[in-house]
């Protein structure tokens, strides 16, 4: 069982609500779900769509071929009609747009009419549509009702009742009318968790003891801001929207200096404005976690679409030389644990950790059967309270074996915490001394980096070993590459290496043997310039034999990547 559903319509029609609710229903019912969003930079009109994949086995990528297309506007049919599979069904309400479709692959349901008659408002149409899809799949109605109840639970019961009623109507209508629907879902039992990339980062941050968030809205990072703001009261997090990204980064630096874990998230344009701040954090050895949610550039580019073209920028961003760690999770699960690791490393080594995502991962939802919360680590590396008061003397930037100096909390003791964006001495005061300068560079850079490299996990290998063709990818390419490799691995002797802990490269370099063993190395990147390949070339002297790039702002589908991979691997 492996069905793909696409819900298309104008911005403002509720596409996202329908998609999100369906995804939760499916997860609740015990299926594995994968969703992805496609939207324009506008609030009403245009054309958006929401993709859902549902299966009894984990699926972590998008297919081009659709089983169900819920069309709320004409464009859905023009754009996505051709993607319908042989047994696919278009679901629509003819009254919504002046077009009547004929044929066995069409199911027409009067969403609007049912909503107005039985729900009392136009917006209930969405519940009818949700019910219809659940009905088409011949699923049990209970998870649907439960999920709707959860979603509308906070609103008044009348609205809730009406929605449930509308969903049921849609459900029954579809069950009855869609005799030609050949869908049948396997019986599964245990409900799954459903989380998006942005939510995973949000949870990861909150569960790492985040206490201060400052940000400036920017798609596709805003979801993180929203998530953290939602939990701010319960978890005691101060969230403050900044006047610009420069302020955001400097505020979190201030907060981190004052003794709390702090974070910001942004996208390319905003990240540009934060770059001077990164360098400031490095010089003052202030722990800092920054999320860069990539989207297609240059400049404003395609602000709601996806690309991963800021890896090299992120790796070298900031004036002067300083250490940094770069993570690029490949899934919400990785995002959760890597965000936690980001906070840990950042405070342990008093360095900057960047988390790179992109619109595709940020807005995608994946299911898991439970995520292990015990894996989330919290160690407070700061010198606080009594521990701080009891030491005899203190220098914020004292030279140590590991390059890491004790990180005191200002005000907790009579010791003063002094730090400076200028080169400074151990106490933190401005210095012009060439020897101290040299030692400080060594401390920040050469001493810390070897320790940090030991903390970095090697890439994940998957597939045939040794592989004929090794597919190398990073970040959000994980799911789609894995699915394609899984499918083709036996025929083509494929293996894949996925990097999520990108920089610095890990001390343990056993993974290099895959490059040696493979006859052909192929890079898959969502950018034009093969940035990860360049980085690997720079750091490890490795170059690839072929590469697959995509830079039109749309994520790879399984089919597209498969076709392109066969073409180069053969």
């Amino acid at each position: 069982m492996d069905y793909s559903i696409r819900i298309g319509g104008e911005a403002g029609q509720g596409i996202q609500t329908i998609g999100d609710t369906l995804a939760h229903i499916f997860a609740e019912a015990g299926y594995y779900v994968f969703t992805s969003q496609d939207y324009e930079s506008r609030i009403r009109g245009g054309h958006n769509s929401f993709y859902i994949r549902i299966s009894d086995k984990p699926k972590e990528a998008m297919k081009a071929r659709l089983e169900i297309l819920l069309a709320l506007d004409k464009d859905s049919i023009t754009l996505h009609g051709p993607e319908l599979s042989e047994n696919g069904q278009i679901l629509y309400d003819p009254s919504l747009f002046k077009q009547t479709l004929e044929g066995p692959r069409v199911l027409s349901i009067p969403f609007l009419d049912l909503a107005l008659k039985h729900g009392g408002s136009k917006i209930m149409m969405n519940s009818v549509a949700i019910g219809s899809i659940v009905g088409m799949l011949k699923m049990q109605p209970e998870p649907m009702i439960e999920t709707i109840q959860k979603t509308f639970g906070k609103k008044d019961t009348e609205v809730l009742e009406a929605n449930v009623k509308c969903a049921k109507l849609g459900y029954e209508f579809a069950l009855k009318e869609c005799l030609k629907c050949s869908f049948s879902v396997s019986q599964v039992l245990k409900p799954n968790t459903l989380i998006s990339g942005n939510e995973a980062i949000g949870i990861g941050a909150c569960a790492s003891g985040l206490k201060f968030y400052s940000g400036y809205p920017m798609t596709p990072s805003t979801g993180i801001f929203n998530f953290i703001a939602e939990y701010a009261r319960d978890l005691g997090i101060v969230v403050e929207q900044a006047e610009d990204e420069i302020s955001a980064i400097n505020m979190i630096i201030g907060a981190s200096f004052a003794g709390v874990r702090a974070m910001t998230a942004t996208s390319g344009g905003g990240f540009c404005l934060m770059v001077e701040g990164l360098s400031l954090a490095a010089m003052t050895e202030t722990p800092l976690v920054v999320v860069l949610a990539q989207r297609p550039g240059p400049a404003t580019g395609l602000p709601t679409r996806t690309e991963a073209a800021e890896l090299l920028f992120a790796t070298f961003a900031g004036h002067g030389e300083f250490p940094r760690v770069i993570f690029a999770p490949g899934s919400p699960k990785q995002a959760l644990y890597l965000t936690n690791k980001a906070f840990d490393l950042s405070e342990k080594y008093q360095i900057l950790v960047l988390i790179l995502t992109d619109q595709y991962l940020a807005d995608s939802q994946w299911t898991y059967d439970s995520l292990d919360m015990e894996r989330l680590k919290y160690v407070d590396y700061r010198l606080r309270g009594k521990n701080f008061r009891n030491i005899l003397s203190y220098n914020r930037h004292s030279f140590t074996e590991s390059g890491v100096s004790p990180l005191g909390v200002p005000g907790d003791a009579h010791h003063l915490i002094v730090t400076d964006s200028d080169e400074h001495d151990e106490e933190g005061h401005i210095t012009e001394d060439p020897q101290i300068r040299t030692r400080m560079v060594e401390k920040r850079l050469f001493k810390k980096i070897p320790y940090i490299k030991r903390e970095i996990s090697p890439p994940i290998f998957f597939g045939e070993n040794p592989p004929d063709t090794l597919v190398v990818c990073w970040g959000s390419m994980y799911g789609v590459v894995k699915e394609v490799v899984e499918e083709l691995k036996q025929d083509l002797k494929l293996g894949m290496l996925h990097f999520s802990e990108i920089y610095p490269f890990p001390e343990e370099d056993g993974y290099l043997r895959y490059f040696e063993k493979a006859k052909k190395v192929v890079g898959v990147e969502q950018n034009a310039l093969s940035q990860f390949e360049k980085l690997l070339g720079m750091e490890k002297g490795i170059s690839f034999d072929a590469r697959i790039n995509k830079f039109d702002g749309r994520p790879f589908t399984v089919e597209e990547l498969k076709e392109r991979l066969i073409a180069v691997a053969k």
């Binding site: 968790t193 978890l235 005000g411």
Partner: protein, 287 residues
């Protein structure tokens, strides 16, 4: 008992005669008179002559980037509102590079004391016009003379309804100390624009020039009248008022976050059990 000795820092790298010295001394004396200890203070400064200030006394210090004092100070205040947070900046620093942060810091109203060492010039970078340089002044970088209207920081702050707006003069340290003390006692964002002669690069606005113009606000001056204060703030030229031009209390930024009504954020424990409980609703499904 704290004494002046508790506030002696590194050797200043300022020019002899620079107005910054008396601001520094005034600050030290105020700290002693109010018995505020070095470790209770954080001074956030930027880059410029004024930015070197915290190194020359003793305090927790974050000497950050040019123009970015206020966001850092705001982050510190929100993370630990028990600290006494000062921001020290130059006129280029605060009104030029950092202009946007000033506007929005005033809107936020954290309880931060901002001292702007306003020498009407870029000192450290050798004499370019600053936002407060007077019209027509020629420099190497303003070959056609300064073409912009000088910025009036006090009028700006009053327009933004800043909680405490004052002007001091480095050449009148007793008055400056009074203003500093009032600012510290006041709850809310406090701007003190301090006229600070730059003996090296500002040959126009000299000690003499300021002395001939500066006068203390009248005894019956009412700093609570916003429109009156605005009118007063526009006085610049033959006569330049110094003192507290505008003052009113309002809720501070930090008071508006219920979660830090009590303990500062920096002292709040991270409760992993609670966190796990909350997120298990999302992450863990009953089997």
């Amino acid at each position: 008992m704290l004494s002046l000795n508790d506030f002696i820092g590194r050797q200043p790298a300022w020019c002899p005669g620079c107005g910054n010295f008396s601001i520094l001394n005034a600050f030290r004396e105020v700290m002693v008179e109010l018995q505020i200890a070095p470790h209770e203070i954080v001074i956030v400064s930027g880059i410029g002559q004024a930015g070197k200030f915290p190194h020359y006394t003793r305090c927790n210090t974050f000497n950050g980037l040019h123009g970015r004092t206020l966001p850092v100070a705001t982050g510190i205040k929100l993370a630990n509102h028990h600290l006494k947070v000062f921001a020290v900046a130059g006129d280029g620093d605060c009104y030029g590079e950092g202009g946007n942060h000033l506007i929005h810091a005033i809107r936020r109203n954290p309880d931060i004391k901002l001292f702007v060492h306003n020498n009407q010039v870029y000192g450290l970078t050798k004499g370019q016009a600053s936002p407060t340089t007077m019209r027509g002044v020629k420099t190497k970088n303003q070959p056609f003379g300064t073409v912009s209207e000088p910025l009036n920081p006090l009028a700006l702050a009053i327009a933004l309804d800043c909680s405490f707006v004052a002007r001091g003069f480095a050449g009148d340290p007793e008055h400056l100390k009074m203003v500093m003390k009032e600012a510290i006692k006041h709850k809310g964002f406090s701007l003190i624009d301090i006229l600070q002669p730059c003996v090296t690069y500002n040959k126009f606005n000299t000690y003499k020039w300021y002395r001939e113009r500066v006068y203390h606000l009248e005894i019956n001056y009412d700093p609570r009248d916003r429109i009156g204060a605005f009118g007063k703030a526009l006085e610049w030229g033959e006569k330049i008022p110094i003192g507290i031009l505008y003052k009113h209390e309002k809720t501070t930024l930090e008071e508006q976050f219920p979660i830090i009504k009590g303990e500062p954020l920096a002292e709040q424990k991270v409760d992993m059990d609670k966190i796990r409980e909350i997120f298990s609703k999302i992450l863990v499904k009953e089997k």
